[in-house]
């Protein structure tokens, strides 16, 4: 992308525009019919005390205008609603309204309040100026400068999280700019400039360093290893490595980079390789091994194909932080207790452990010190019964090596991108600086820049060049300036108030790329914009953009927020109730569960699949561990990577509601929360979240001592209160239908969790049957999903509203009804193709105008 500097760009020329603040003019209720119906109810039951005359509690309901936009009247209406919902009003000794009357008024108020909130944020259907999110910031600087960041020194880590509204972090009103964020922009721009302009040799060369374990057998052995070898380690038969049963392998500080004698001299990308094999011994069970580093955690964890005879080679390439251990350690995950402690020592060892878990650190220290003083602690004497090593799993290790820091290119790609002719003293001219900056600015501002803007940036660069006597310093100063300017930080679209105007092709290119890629336009989009051919081919460009790898941004931007992925870990499953979740075999299952919904969306995106599969499907995405967790057919998935797996005809899984992450979300760690699960269904699948509960509605009560009620039974108690029943009868069935899934997403037929043994009897049997507010009855999860399948239009509408919000950076308003309808129709006609909804958005007037 090379955009010329133009003097004629019109931004600076548009004159002052009459400023009209858009204030919604409504103060009447949006539903007049309902207001007329509500009035007599209020009059009948409330005016006795709360009329203009009596004004009991200084509350005059007679003169309370049905104005839900003003904050004072709205607050009064909220009070009315809450008092009705909580049955606080009318007082017990006064005539009570019928349940329907009570519910009618409170539902009406809730609806008006929601409507008012929408009006208050209304934009009149116009797109709003907004700043980049931190994800967009990171993607954009990577794309326009080609920078590669050090671990943890990237914008995404250093910028604060963005505010979120209407469920997405892209919404203009949630994206504020405060002085501390502005400070961060300055600091980060400096880091970006330093990473982008790296001239000369790499500061730290790439070096490979290897430790061969058999060498320790030939005289190089440090004492500690020697001691280990004499216990249960031995040289492999072919003499190329060492075999162990119980011990771990360390690197003993032997892996060092000459730069500063550290294993990881600077933070960056490294390759860690090893050659190893395992033997299951008599157990025949899979052998898990791990390779880890202090501060980094596990570098490798899992099974390897290698055996003692035919070891396998492995390579892990990852970012390592310079802070952290200078050691790598490898061991079997489950190690037998051999050569450990004899009975006398074991007694004290257990005692020390107990004391330390009780917090009695000092006492624990004394016990340990005593063991140490006796020369026993941690050294161990063999337990004779355990000495038959043949039956134990074994680990063979040939070598461990580390290579790095790895550079993808040197000089970095960013230097070539910025400085097309390279740099040598003859090029250090004002003309070259101007050329380089002009080319960069056009990318940073996503449009041709004006001469005035160019001058303003150039001035900083030249001043810095002169002050520092360094061309490089001047160039960096220009980059920092550009990255702190409003034209970079904001998606700017100049406009007049009166009527919408068509976007320029450059603006359209940005809208499209930030929608689908969360980044700036690529060269193709930019040149289509420059040629003026973008608008006429916008749908083709959108289809291509959707198929590009870069649309992965939709998975992490749109899908993860739509599906509430960031909240999947809000509670930790209880260790005692859900032991399986913490078994070694399932190490990593939490991440797998969280990944499944995203992998599912990605699969639909990549295969141009059917979005209705979110309601119910005969497949999901799983890796080996997740397939085992769900008890799917053995061998259906292998390894760590997620693959598409099919289900047999009748299945407990399928659709988003069969995914453990959602069950986890709708639980508090020890018991399920059907109300929350119902909320998830209504919000995520239908974009129709329930009204928030009245204050002090409380949670479903925990079981009191001596009572074993299922969550469903306790919820039913709660619903005995008529005013609660009003909301809950509409909400709960959606969540109770998922009661067969426990806190960690496993199928259950009987109640579990909550630190108690429920037993398996008719009393603890899970009941899921019920009927939805529209009357459809179901008796189990399968029938429930069938009903959901039948609600595809409601789902399409909900999904369209979510995608609209993401694309337009604002929630849909009444004027947007047309686009939403078009999206729904497109989804119906295409059979739920995501692409059809995207094209309906992109092709709309609203998307193409400001």
């Amino acid at each position: 992308m090379r955009l010329a500097v133009t003097k004629a760009f019109p931004i600076g020329r548009i004159g002052l525009i009459g400023i009209i603040f858009y204030t919604p003019a409504f103060s009447a209720p949006s539903d007049l019919g309902a207001w007329k119906k509500a009035q007599p109810i209020l009059e009948k039951y409330c005016f006795d005390c709360h009329d203009a005359e009596t004004k009991k509690g200084k509350f005059d309901l007679q003169n309370l205008a049905p104005d839900f936009l003003g904050s004072e009247p709205a607050a009064s209406w909220i009070e009315v609603m809450d008092s009705l919902n909580l049955s606080e009003m009318p007082p017990e000794d006064k005539p009570q309204p019928l349940a329907e009357e009570r519910s009618f008024v409170s539902t009406w108020i809730a609806g008006e309040l929601r409507q008012a909130r929408k009006m208050a944020n209304a934009t009149g259907g116009r797109a709003l100026l907004r700043r980049l999110t931190r994800v967009e910031y990171e993607n954009t600087v990577k794309d326009i400068l080609g920078v590669v960041f050090e671990p943890k020194q990237n914008p995404l880590t250093l910028l604060p999280p963005d505010g979120s509204m209407d469920g997405f972090d892209k919404v203009s009103q949630g994206l504020m700019l405060d002085p501390s964020l502005m400070e961060s922009y300055f600091d980060i721009a400096r880091i970006v400039a330093d990473r982008a302009v790296q001239l000369g040799d790499p500061p730290v060369p790439t070096i490979r360093s290897r430790l061969e374990y058999e060498e320790y057998e030939t005289g190089l052995t440090p004492r500690s290893i020697h001691r280990s070898l004499s216990r249960d380690k031995k040289l492999s038969p072919d003499g190329t490595g060492v075999i162990t049963v119980q011990d771990s392998f360390r690197t003993f500080g032997q892996l060092k980079h000459p730069f500063n004698d550290e294993m990881v001299p600077v933070s960056g990308k490294y390759a860690i390789r090893f050659r190893a094999g395992t033997d299951p011994g008599e157990s025949g069970k899979p052998v898990l091994i791990k390779l880890s580093r202090n501060g980094t955690g596990n570098i490798f964890y899992g099974e390897i194909p290698g055996t003692l005879e035919e070891p396998s080679e492995h390579e892990v390439i990852m970012d390592l932080d310079a802070k952290g251990g200078g050691e790598l350690g490898m061991s079997l995950v489950e190690r037998p207790e051999i050569g450990g402690l004899n009975r006398y020592e074991r007694h004290f060892d257990t005692l020390a452990r107990t004391l330390s878990t009780e917090g009695k650190m000092k006492e624990a220290g004394f016990v340990k010190a005593r063991l140490n003083a006796e020369g026993n602690y941690g050294m161990g004497r063999s337990d004779l019964n355990m000495l038959n090593l043949g039956k134990h799993p074994k680990l063979y290790l040939d070598y461990i090596e580390i290579e790095g820091p790895l550079y993808e290119d040197w000089p970095p790609k960013s230097v070539a991108m910025l400085l097309p002719s390279g740099l040598d003293p003859s090029l250090e001219t004002s003309g070259y600086l101007t050329e380089v900056i002009a080319s960069f600015l056009a990318k940073a501002y996503r449009r041709p820049v004006t001469a005035e803007e160019m001058g303003l940036v150039l001035k900083v660069a030249q001043a810095e060049w002169a002050a520092r006597d360094s061309f490089e310093a001047g160039l960096k100063a220009a980059i920092i300036t550009a990255l702190c300017s409003p034209s970079f930080l904001y998606l700017l679209e100049p406009s007049q108030d009166k009527k919408p105007r068509p976007l320029t092709d450059y603006e359209l290119a940005s809208r499209l790329s930030y929608f689908l890629w969360s980044s700036s336009p690529d060269e193709e989009l930019a040149s289509a914009a420059a040629n003026g051919t973008l608008r006429s081919n916008i749908k083709e460009h959108a289809s291509l953009a959707l198929r590009s790898e870069r649309s992965e941004a939709l998975v992490h931007g749109f899908a993860s927020q739509w599906l509430k992925v960031a909240e999947f870990n809000r509670f930790t499953p209880d260790r005692n109730s859900y032991k399986r979740f913490y078994e070694n075999q399932f190490e990593g299952i939490n991440e797998d569960l969280n990944e499944e919904p995203l992998a599912f969306f990605r699969e639909i995106l990549r295969s141009n699949g059917d979005l209705r599969d979110f309601l119910d499907s005969d497949w999901t995405m799983a890796n080996k561990r997740l397939a085992e967790w769900y008890g799917l057919q053995e061998g259906i998935a292998e390894g760590e990577n997620f693959v598409r797996v099919g289900f047999p005809a009748q299945t407990q899984r399928g659709g988003i509601l069969g995914m453990g992450a959602v069950h986890k979300w709708g639980s508090d760690g020890s018991r399920t929360k059907p109300v929350d699960r119902g909320k998830y269904v209504l919000d995520v699948l239908f974009n129709d979240p329930p009204h928030p509960p009245p204050p002090n509605a409380g949670e479903v009560e925990p079981n009191v001592q001596g009572k074993n009620l299922t969550v469903r039974e306790r919820l039913e108690q709660h619903r005995q209160i008529e005013s609660c029943a009003n909301c809950h009868s509409r909400l709960d069935p959606y969540g109770l239908a998922l009661e067969n899934f426990n806190v960690v997403g496993l199928w259950r037929d009987f109640q579990d969790g909550e630190n108690r043994w429920w037993g398996q009897n008719e009393e603890s049997r899970i009941q899921v049957g019920g009927s939805l507010p529209n009357g459809s009855a179901f008796k189990d999860f399968l029938e429930y999903k069938q009903i959901l399948r039948g609600m595809e239009n409601r789902f399409f509408r909900g999904f369209s509203e979510k995608l609209f919000t993401y694309a337009f950076s604002r929630a849909p308003e009444p004027v947007d009804r047309g686009i939403i309808d078009e999206m729904v129709t497109a989804l119906q006609q295409s059979g739920g193709k995501l692409e059809s909804a995207v094209l309906a958005i992109v092709g709309s007037d609203a998307f193409q105008s400001k």
Partner: protein, 447 residues
């Protein structure tokens, strides 16, 4: 294998030119008037507000008896030695607290969240700092277990909001705070700092000019958004001015015997989890407040000791679940016990802080604690409630605070009344003047 090319010799001077550009202080500063606590009448009052996120186990926090003769509860027991120097205030309440947004309204008392928008008002500490902070190097100090503001998210990193309702960023690393307060720049650093000032100055000029040229062409709705940019950039500009002004004034020297080592970064975001010890960290943070007050570097501080919702439990506590999970205790006795244990651990740290404050003597022999009001509470009580807050006011006896042991305030007394009391004793406001949602300073404490 990765191929490396070493294309040509490095030619340009490799001075890290922009070093320093990002090290400007984010603490506001007003120059002039170095401390002069030389005579009795000139011992200044100080105050600090502390936040313990996600409430406490109030069942073992709230004392049963009222008045000075009350028995300390298990959670408060670590403070026994200072029993006559603090008051437990039951009945405090945050109208817009509870849930997980109590940290926003904690020091401001206003409704911060409204239909997805967040709008806050000036916090109590900043109100006081504006009134009395001009005489010190730093008008106020913002500390937290997590740096930044955390604005927009559920776990704020700061309690302080300026008069425009904009959050002020906190610092979590004792080393960085120490540097800011007490460490002089080396000549190189001073030079880099000056260069940084210059560059930032010229960048600010450039981006403001660019923004101005755009301003006329944006719609009125968009202009409101662009105004956020303008006001932020201007704030950064003013900051730069202040930083320039005090850059060459000497900082106070402190004697660090008996204190920990502040020479290396040691915050939770700066060291690996395995090297981090909360107990040591906590002491360093509290000690910094004592040192800052002792040297009269500032008179007002705020500190997020434990953030709302996030974190709060460290391996050395010997508790296996995170704090928020424990607060959803479902009446499980084990979880309630763990919660109480965590609360007590925090109170043990607090006792260390009081000991430090007490050990530092003013010129008249009274202690620093006697001239300082330390108020802590939370954004929720127990069970995510907005009442039953764990509120305690410590110190300030030499400033006329009369401690009452366990004082039961009328039900739902706004927490702002406690801040009002402190602000009043700072000389910032009359006890009956309008202040946030306070119904007046707590008269019993002033008796």
């Amino acid at each position: 294998m990765v191929q490396l090319n070493f294309p040509r010799k490095r030619r340009l001077g490799r001075r890290t030119i922009l070093k320093g550009a990002g090290t400007t202080l984010s603490l506001p500063f007003l120059e002039s008037m170095l401390p002069a606590a030389s005579s009795l009448s000139k011992i200044p009052p100080r105050m600090a507000c502390f936040y313990f996120g996600t409430g406490m186990n109030m069942r073992v926090f709230e004392p049963k008896e009222e008045g000075k003769g009350y028995s300390l509860t298990p959670t408060l027991e670590p403070l026994a030695k200072y029993k006559d120097k603090f008051t437990v205030l039951s009945g405090t309440y945050l109208e817009y607290g509870g849930g997980h947004t109590g940290d926003y309204t904690f020091l401001t008392g206003v409704q911060t969240h409204n239909g997805g928008r967040i709008q806050n008002a000036i916090s109590c500490d900043q109100f006081v700092a504006n009134e009395v902070g001009g005489g010190t190097r730093f008008p106020s100090l913002q500390m937290s277990v997590k740096r930044g503001t955390g604005f927009g998210g559920q776990a704020l990193g700061t309690l302080s909001w300026n008069k425009n309702g904009i959050p002020l960023a906190s610092e979590s690393d004792p080393h960085r705070i120490f540097r800011r307060l007490f460490q002089e720049d080396s000549p190189d650093e001073a030079e880099a700092r000056q260069a940084g000032f210059r560059l930032r100055g010229s960048i600010l000029d450039s981006v403001i000019a660019q923004a101005k040229s755009l301003e006329p062409s944006v719609s009125s709705l968009d202009k409101q958004k662009l105004d956020e940019y303008f006001s932020s950039v201007r704030e950064v500009e003013q900051q730069l001015q202040r930083n320039r002004q005090w850059a060459d004034k000497p900082k106070p020297k402190v004697d660090l015997s008996g204190y920990q080592d502040y020479s290396e970064p040691c915050g939770p975001e700066d060291v690996n989890a395995s090297e981090f010890n909360y107990f040591g960290y906590s002491r360093m943070m509290y000690d910094l407040i004592a040192l800052a007050f002792q040297t009269d570097s500032t008179r007002v501080a705020s500190y997020v000791v434990r953030r709302e919702l996030a974190g709060g439990i460290y391996p050395e506590f010997g508790i296996s679940e995170d704090f928020h999970t424990l607060t959803h205790h479902n009446n499980d006795p084990r979880k309630l016990a763990d919660l109480a244990k965590a609360d007590r651990i925090y109170m043990e740290r607090w006792a260390e802080f009081l000991a430090r404050m007490e050990s530092i003597k003013e010129v008249d022999g009274s202690s620093l604690l006697d001239h300082t009001m330390l108020g802590f509470s939370s954004g929720m009580g127990i069970g995510h409630s907005k009442d039953r807050l764990p509120t305690v006011l410590c110190g300030g006896t030499a400033r006329g605070i009369r401690h009452q042991g366990h004082l039961k305030l009328p039900t739902n007394t706004p927490l702002a009344s406690v801040w009002h009391t402190m602000a009043h004793k700072m000389g910032a406001i009359a006890p009956d003047a309008p202040f946030q949602d306070s119904k007046g300073a707590v008269s019993e404490l002033l008796a």
